[in-house]
Symmetry: C2
Subunit: 283 residues, 2 copies
Amino acid sequence: MAALAPYAGQAHVVGLTGSPGVGKSTATSALVKVLRSEGKRVGVLAVDPSSPFSGGALLGDRVRMGDHALDEGVYIRSMASRGHLGGLAWTTPQALRVLDAAGFDVVLVETVGVGQSEVEVAGLADTTVVLLAPGMGDGIQAAKAGILEIGDVFVVNKADREGADQTRRELRSMIAQSSRGAEGRDGSWKPPIVSTEARAGTGFDQLATALAEHRAWLESSGELEQRRTRRARDEIEAIALTALRTRWGQLHGNHDLDALAASVASGESDPYAAADRLLGSLD
Amino acid sequence: MAALAPYAGQAHVVGLTGSPGVGKSTATSALVKVLRSEGKRVGVLAVDPSSPFSGGALLGDRVRMGDHALDEGVYIRSMASRGHLGGLAWTTPQALRVLDAAGFDVVLVETVGVGQSEVEVAGLADTTVVLLAPGMGDGIQAAKAGILEIGDVFVVNKADREGADQTRRELRSMIAQSSRGAEGRDGSWKPPIVSTEARAGTGFDQLATALAEHRAWLESSGELEQRRTRRARDEIEAIALTALRTRWGQLHGNHDLDALAASVASGESDPYAAADRLLGSLD
């Protein structure tokens, strides 16, 4: 990781998220095709919506994006987001760093918008793309509950379907009413809405343009540096915490975390006193 | 908190989660009514699906559950789940502990099943209730992606609506196919499905019975102690981490977290070396 550090920081990290059924995989594949036609090398990390309790991958690399299987300018990798804390936060940044240092121009991180992963991907990416599809009430519902604020670019996929106009209208009105609607005024970023048909491959030129525009804005506004510093902060903390957990697990006597947790659960101690003891063990 | 510790551990902590639109608030209110008729004192924590980026509460205490406004056996409190890490994990356990120590027999924690909160609530609760409604494809979709594994009791609300039978059938078949379907065999818990009509108030006697049965199973199986120890562990870690963050923010020179993050973002350092420095500052 130390050896990779000087080579990293060039790739444009793009997060793609959306509910199951919006056509995320097909859209990712169509976007890769456009980026390849521009001569860009593309890495794809498909972060799997495996349950935080069972682990395990639902999607296999082999069945995904067969169109690009023989293209040496494309690297595709599925990753399980095992574990609640430390899933995306722990493994994905490392994989991103490797692909970045390896010289990929764009790294796409695809996650299903269920659970905490959609928020985490926004933390990891330079640009977050939120995919919606017409006729899925949950798209707009989800948007209400937070998706709206993580999207830098919105895509209405399956734009040939009935209801696409309405989805676009609702989305436009929601953006306008939100804090983001006002962003355009002072030179900040107002999220555009792009219409695509992933199966036919239409609309992805516009999406690639929107991504490039957002990247340019990130650089000129200083936001890129801010986002990357924030990301590095989270990554350092996650690594430090993992190391501390190992230490805390190795403590002996009544100071190890399991013994402290048992004493809190039984009412003998309170969590603040227990945390003090845990921290005391570090000194 | 230390003074409260000996009094805590009696309340039955029940998490309620479900997508927007399944009728969660109405269902919570109807459940409170049944529990009150059994003479139980009930605390309700409505954890707000406020965005991790903006904060802020969508729901007000005053507009919620007016039926119970004058009942001294019911305490209702809305809490914003501000912040990504440390939202639910940080404030809700403290509120739970206070209500528990104050002698409430049941504490209901209501969260919208969007974002990471639904997984976190399962970590906090003794019993997790997942609400679905017919005609919401996202209910089943969400179930596929993890909800299935956090639910100890499933509720099909709006059971008078068209499609309720199908929702129940799909849910039953999904439970049977999952690892939980086999649980009944060896004395472990097989999640029941309860049908309710929150507006009419029907089905909530059965829900209250299912909750009491799950609580009894938790105690007899030893699972209650395990869950509470796990919960205490997470809580202690969260408190310790918050204290560490404060320390890390106060470090001077090139060792404070912001300076380390900037050096990683610029490629001068890597996150592992930075985490080592951060940890070195603790010794």
